[in-house]
């Protein structure tokens, strides 16, 4: 069972939840309040949804040996544009206006993703540099859109994206799971996933075997932009308002952490969407745990770093192998396997 690729991330998540159960049994209390589910676990799902989305997009980008640093800025732009449009409407509660606002924001995010894809796949700029451009400029664009102010909105339908409930369950997690389900189906039930892994694993071999890797690369950046755009709408809808300075700040690093925890290789070629979802939930659980247990905020970052370090250590086959070797002599086949994995 320990060989399953999700074994370690899932056990880390369960271990963290176990800590919560011991320290604060009420952490697991879920009740129906005001017509929706209410409890810490529900908060984790609702607040974790944007990171899950950004993480899914990032996972596919990383699978092709790329990286997208601009997602945080795209999050800010998406929320800023939607809120700017909504704030100008005579009736913010109108569903039509909300749909237009969401459509405009997502359209722009698709274009921004296409811009990243263009730089990487057509101009051949290294992904980390290509997306750094939009990471820096993008926050500036978001600030231009909002004029440096926080745009507060009241629109009911828009707010539902971030803090609404459907059949008792947060809308945001339903959207995130829908995107997860669709993208999993696409990559695992069609050849798409195999092609992505081929592009990431060895681009040259992929090209020689007739793969149009350029088009695939372009596609994953566009998808990454779309995911970041939806996440941006959720974050804006949760507050509710557009904060161009803070929305999505450092989310690219959290997303990279989530997919690393989930077992996706940053060197490309091997990826796991399910692992990313678990990783994102682990990060959000950690944040909520810190707040719930009342860990002093001067120690918060240290506690988070220690947990992440632990998770990464148990994930590392080389580290596990060393621990095991201390306990008992290793059979030849196993050490050979470990070398193969870590190579």
């Amino acid at each position: 069972m320990t060989k399953h690729r999700l074994f370690w991330p899932v056990s880390a998540l369960l271990a963290l939840l176990l800590v919560d159960l011991i320290a604060k049994p009420s952490f697991f209390k879920v009740e129906v309040r005001d017509g929706h589910l209410y409890g810490s676990l529900i908060d984790i799902l609702r607040l974790g949804a944007p990171l899950i989305l950004v993480g899914i997009g990032m996972t596919l980008v990383v699978a092709t040996r790329g990286i997208d640093l601009s997602v945080g800025s795209v999050v800010a732009i998406s929320g800023a544009l939607a809120c700017l449009h909504l704030s100008g409407l005579p009736d913010q509660d109108a569903v039509g206006g909300t749909v237009v606002a969401v459509g405009m924001a997502l359209g722009l995010c698709l274009a921004l993703g296409a811009w990243n894809g263009f730089l990487v796949s057509v101009l051949g700029i290294q992904p980390i540099i290509a997306t750094l451009i939009l990471m820096v400029a993008g926050r500036g664009i978001a600030q231009l859109i909002t004029d440096g102010q926080i745009i507060t909105i009241t629109s009911g339908p828009f707010r539902a994206l971030g803090s609404g409930y459907l059949f008792l369950v947060p809308v945001s997690i339903l959207i995130a799971l829908a995107v997860f389900g669709l993208s999993s189906l696409l990559v695992r039930k069609s050849a798409l996933g195999l092609l992505l892994e081929a592009v990431g694993g060895n681009p040259e071999a992929g090209r020689l075997s007739g793969l149009r890797s350029g088009r695939l690369t372009w596609l994953v950046y566009v998808f990454g932009g779309l995911c970041a755009g939806i996440a941006g709408l959720m974050i804006a809808a949760n507050t509710p308002g557009a904060d161009a300075n803070h929305a999505g700040l450092w989310i690219e690093l959290d997303a990279i952490l989530a997919l690393t925890i989930g077992g996706t290789k940053l060197t490309g070629g091997r990826f796991s969407l399910g692992g990313t979802v678990i990783g994102a939930l682990l990060i959000q659980t950690l944040t909520t745990t810190v707040y719930t247990l009342g860990i002093p905020d001067t120690a918060t970052l240290l506690v988070k770093a220690l947990v992440v370090l632990l998770v990464c250590l148990v994930q590392s086959p080389a580290f596990r192998d060393r621990v095991r070797r201390r306990r008992r002599p290793v059979p030849a086949t196993e050490s050979a396997r470990a070398v193969e994995v870590s190579a």
């Binding site: 005001d34 908060d43 400029a137 600030q143 440096g148 102010q149 803090s163 904060d243 300075n245």
Partner: protein, 323 residues
Amino acid sequence: MFGKKWAALAAGVMGVTLLTGCGGAADSAGGGAITLGFSQVGAESGWRTANTKSIQESAKSAGIELKFSDAQQKQENQITAIRSFIQQKVKVIAFSPVVESGWDTVLKEAKTAGIPVILTDRSVDSSDKTLYKTFLGSDFVAEGKKAGEWLVKESAAATGDVNVVELQGSTGSAPANDRKKGFADAIGSTSKIKVVASQTGEFTRAKGKEVMEAFLKSQSKIDVLYAHNDDMALGAIEAIEAAGKKPGTDIKIVSVDAVKDGMQALADGKINYIVECNPLLGPQLMDLVKKVSAGEEVPARIETQETEFDQAKAKAALPQRQY
């Protein structure tokens, strides 16, 4: 190339601001006017924008020629701006330091050139107090104290414990440290008021909401929320409402800043009390500039004129609120 384009655009916008700043003042004042070089932190919030506007407008009406520069949150931009003010031989330099330390060299250059310096809103951390004439800004400890004093008065009739949760500003920032300290000092002698949980909400709405959600689940009884700024209080209101409670009634809220959205919530009864942190320090600054350039002595520390708002006062003040 994209980045360059935006940089060029930003530079253009800054240039225009600078030109209109000088032009406007020169029109009203003529040749013998006092010139003031002012370097602003940036335009990160509504508070900051109101601060900028106040300085620009009051310079105009005081007949002071203003050279305005936006540092966009970067200390090196601010140092460059101050050096260019020195070269242009302005009469007085004023600035809101982006960070607390690292100012000694450039301030010494200003001192050598004989140009007096006024700090606004934020202070610098320097052992040599002769490097600047005065510091005009809010007293964050006093703000926290006022919030605490209100709570002591408000809960005078309460018989049981009063459980308070606190949303702090960014960890380590001067307003967060001082507002926490002032509040703790004010409630110190009242044993029934207890701060049961205190976490940073990083001065943002999103974090304010997220932390309050966790507080609502981990604390069995919350009577009062103390937020270090309005934005976090606004986020927390969302969390309280989602928990099926009434902000302002079930959980009383006191915060600091008095920005427009906060005042609206106060007028709507969702916040109970706001201690003002006034960005409109333009008129006081221009007064100081005139005094300093005339060689008059000024106190080394001047506090901005600030007030507090309850719900009735907020309703009255809201229509004129600029920021």
